[in-house]
């Protein structure tokens, strides 16, 4: 029980101050569109240079935890997810907010994040060695099938019909092929220098979500009579807590899905929320409520997001292989302090690493308390007149996009995609599948190409892709997912025909 032994190290005044500062800054930064957890952690790393290893890691861990949850704040309040991970939260969270239940939605978000986060860290503490072995088994073919499984989820989220969702997803896949492909050593569809480095996922996220929101706000400000948009119900966190903890099924689905996705290196924790959301809807008694303000949607998505944090550190700490983009940045943070991930890390640097893991648990508590405090005091955002809101989101979108990689091209891409998305949304296409397509495109393609090369050198490509226990499980899951969607839509039609 090493982790109990080092718990007291977390509770020094300095470390608690770091946790407080890191969590507050992380929640606020995470809520700004464009400042994804990956970026926030990357930006904070230079400040940890001069700190002791344990202090630096505590700050980084607190930022990581808090930015993941912080991205949900803007997803709920202004329908602009702070990071790709929070897309699923926006689907139902913003609908709830429009019904005047913004603070309730935020409560669900922080309680679920807390549950998921603690679950993920428990997995990290007790199951690291077996999970590390599992993580290594995911080679190119397994990751390819995961991407395909993800694509089957695309059709069911955030669009008017399955076919439109699939088309939006394919459009995302299509634009993900723009730019340089290091696997092929070739450039594709580069018609101007601005397209050279392709479509950055966060730039696309900002464009696809923020710009339609800005234009919608402009429409609203022209049409509505009063400045205040929505009524605000009172914030009763105890009531929300009671309801939240009664939704055991959504919490369980979220926590387990998040942990599994987190552990698989390269699958990208970005999809954890969406996969959990999809599962929660498929198993729900009221699937038709999803997308219209169903609390279970937020609960599943946010518990998955934060459950992903702990397990994504498993392959990082034991194998030096990061499970998510943010974990990849954390690797740099570890190396700077001379902490080399690997089996020795837990023996040679036991004190530092266990203090870090323990601090993640404490960070969850800080995140919950500060988050609940912020929910109480952020409802006013819903009352900001829409033209002020539109102007602020516009400028934040531009600054957020530019700061991803100091690139004006990203700003242009963001703007073009965003305006196109606004018009596409008038035809019933949603932004969520497009973003998912952009995330999954490279995972599918790169792993397919790698698998093809390896298969060609071995027993043949088909043989390589269709053998192995994990491959077959994933293929069966994919078939099951498609079959269920067809069955569900058939049942819905029958229902409609009856009524």
């Amino acid at each position: 029980m090493d982790f109990l032994h080092y718990f007291s190290n977390v509770f020094t005044p300095y470390h608690l101050l770091l946790l407080f500062g890191g969590t507050t800054a992380g929640l606020i930064l995470g809520a700004l569109p464009g400042l994804s957890p990956t970026m926030a952690v990357a930006l904070i790393i230079p400040f940890t240079f001069h700190m002791q290893p344990d202090s630096g890691l505590i700050l980084l861990g607190a930022m990581y935890t808090a930015t993941v949850a912080g991205g949900a704040i803007s997803a709920i309040l202004v329908n602009v997810p702070g990071a790709p991970a929070n897309i699923a939260t926006a689907l139902d969270g913003h609908q709830l907010a429009r019904q005047g239940r913004a603070s309730e939605a935020l409560h669900y978000c922080f309680f679920s994040s807390f549950v998921g986060g603690i679950f993920g860290i428990i997995i990290l503490i007790f199951f690291t060695p077996p999970l590390a072995d599992l993580a290594l088994k995911f080679g190119p073919t397994e990751l390819f099938w995961i991407a395909i499984l993800g694509i089957t989820v695309i059709g069911t989220i955030g669009s008017k019909s399955v076919i439109k969702g699939l088309m939006a997803g394919l459009f995302g896949l299509a634009i993900s092929t723009i730019g340089d492909n290091p696997m092929l050593g070739e450039q594709r569809f580069v018609y101007s220098e601005h397209m050279e480095s392709g479509i950055h996922i966060v730039a696309a996220l900002i464009g696809l979500f923020a710009l339609p929101q800005i234009l919608t706000l402009m429409e609203e400000s022209r049409r509505e009579s009063a400045g205040a948009m929505f009524a605000l119900s009172e914030s009763r966190w105890l009531q929300s807590a009671k309801y939240n903890f009664s939704r055991v099924k959504a919490l369980t689905i979220g926590s387990i899905v998040g942990s599994i996705v987190g552990v698989i290196p390269g699958a990208g924790g970005q999809i954890a929320g969406l996969v959990a959301y999809d599962q929660a809807r498929k198993t729900s008694d009221n699937p038709q409520n999803f997308g219209k303000g169903e609390p279970d949607g937020i609960i599943a998505a946010e518990s998955a997001n934060n459950a992903m944090v702990g397990p994504s550190l498993v392959p990082l700490l034991t194998l030096s292989i990061p499970g998510s983009p943010t974990a990849a940045v954390l690797l740099g943070g570890l190396l700077i302090h001379g902490l080399f991930p690997g089996p020795d890390l837990f023996t040679q640097h036991a004190e530092v690493i266990w203090t870090f893991i323990d601090s993640l648990i404490v960070a969850q508590i800080f995140m919950l308390v500060i988050g609940l405090f912020l929910s109480r005091h952020s409802g006013w955002i819903m009352k900001v007149p829409s033209h002020y809101m539109a102007a602020s989101i516009l400028i934040l979108a531009v600054f957020g996009t530019y700061s991803i990689q100091s690139s004006y091209s990203d700003v242009l891409i963001m703007a073009i995609l965003g305006v196109a998305m606004y018009f596409a949304s008038k035809f019933g296409f949603g932004p969520a599948p497009v973003v998912l397509g952009i995330i999954l495109g490279p995972i599918a393609e790169d792993n397919f190409l790698q698998g093809k090369l390896i298969g060609e050198a071995g027993d043949g490509v088909m043989n390589y892709f269709f053998t192995g226990a994990i491959n077959i499980t994933l293929i069966l899951a994919t078939i099951g997912s498609i079959a269920y969607s067809v069955y569900a839509s058939h049942k819905m039609k029958q229902k409609a025909a009856l009524s």
């Binding site: 800054a25 606020i28 930064l29 970026m39 952690v41 990357a42 930006l43 904070i44 790393i45 230079p46 400040f47 240079f49 290594l136 088994k137 995911f138 080679g139 190119p140 730019g179 340089d180 290091p182 696997m183 092929l184 050593g185 450039q187 050279e196 480095s197 392709g198 950055h200 205040a228 290196p265 390269g266 194998l319 030096s320 292989i321 990061p322 990849a328 940045v329 690797l331 740099g332 943070g333 190396l335 700077i336 001379g338 690997g342 089996p343 020795d344 005091h377 006013w380 009352k383 900001v384 990689q405 100091s406 690139s407 790169d446 790698q450 090369l453 390896i454 060609e456 050198a457 071995g458």
Partner: protein, 331 residues
């Protein structure tokens, strides 16, 4: 109603300002060059090896002794412009960066030279001016810890018997690992299957997970991962201090030279005033040689090789010749 909005907006302003202050502030001003902080453009993602080494290497830039600057004399900040394997950032640097010495860039040899040969880039060794080199990370040949190969010679023998069957991972196309692979194929007269991974980390994962039979990877990362892999040979002229027991390819009778060694350093665009280049060429190696910087480099397992401007210029020229020949048929 309105007043509460303003009040709450006010508290947000305070909160944001506080978090802005929490994150730090900029440095002070001085006379003549350099009189304000200097930027370093890194063409890779934050947190990657080039990025964090650049941050460590420039730590001592504003250090003073007896009230006088001992190296560059100004704080250095890092900005990242990743994309297209580094081409995005370097294209921007050669074309658009200010030529007044207030924007430097980190270079990776052989990457940028190989790219300027294979692709239509806006940069090449003739429009960039190096000012100092801080590190050199050779490529090494690695296999998984359960691999049937325990020496490079065994691997060569197997590859000769089974042409095209040995899969070898590396960080991507036209990077140091790919160059090492090409040289190895040529020198040992074997046919291998190159599998580009997603960066050095992705390539390492393929080796550790047993999905490929062998791989080329960074010496620094491989030395750290010795519990999970076996290191068979070093693609450099001499053995490395981190791995005193691992032979070079040359020792094994496979004539692979140091063309694939990943050199990292700083440069400015051509057109920068001579006086500025002179100041930097003088002070940058001193900055790399700082005791604390060297300590951090050692702590992070980053292989250091400090070279002056003149040494780097001749190294670039050598590489240009060697790589042009090697990549001739790949264009």
């Amino acid at each position: 109603m309105k007043s509460t909005i303003i009040k709450k907006a006010g508290s947000l302003v305070l909160g944001l300002t506080a978090s802005a202050l929490l994150l730090g502030a900029t440095g002070a001003a001085q006379a003549e060059y350099p009189d304000r902080p200097i930027g370093v453009m890194v063409a890779y993602n934050p947190g990657g090896a080039t990025d964090f080494q650049a941050r460590i290497a420039t730590l001592a830039s504003a250090k003073e002794a007896d009230g006088k600057a001992i190296s560059v004399g100004q704080p250095i900040y890092v900005t990242n412009k990743p994309g297209a394997g580094g081409r995005k950032g370097w294209n921007w640097f050669a074309e658009k960066a200010s030529k007044d010495g207030y924007m430097m860039a980190a270079y990776n040899v052989p990457h940028f030279i190989a790219q300027s040969i294979v692709f239509d880039t806006k940069y090449n060794i003739n429009n960039l001016e190096p000012v100092g080199n801080w590190g050199a990370d050779p490529a090494v040949l690695i296999v998984g810890k359960d691999s049937k190969f325990s020496s490079a010679t065994e691997l060569v023998e197997y590859a000769k018997a089974n042409p095209g069957k040995v899969t070898v991972s590396g960080a991507g196309k036209f990077v140091g690992h790919h160059i090492a692979h090409l040289q190895f194929e040529k020198a040992a007269n074997v046919k291998l299957k190159y599998v580009p991974g997603k960066g050095g980390v992705g390539a390492m994962k393929l080796v550790k997970g047993g999905q490929v039979m062998a791989g080329f990877n960074n010496l620094s990362d491989s030395a750290r991962a010795q519990g999970d892999i076996k290191i068979l040979a070093v693609a450099d002229l001499e053995r490395h201090a981190f791995l005193p027991d691992v032979p070079t390819f040359k020792e094994l009778g496979i004539p692979v030279d140091n063309s694939s060694v990943n050199f990292r350093g700083l440069m400015v665009p051509k057109g920068t005033p001579d006086s500025v280049i002179k100041h930097l060429a003088n002070s940058v190696p001193k900055m790399f040689n700082d005791k604390k910087t060297l300590g951090k480099m050692k702590q992070t397992n980053s292989p250091v090789r400090i070279m002056t401007r003149d040494e780097v210029i001749s190294m670039w020229k050598e590489r240009q010749v060697a790589l042009t020949e090697l990549l001739e048929h790949l264009k």
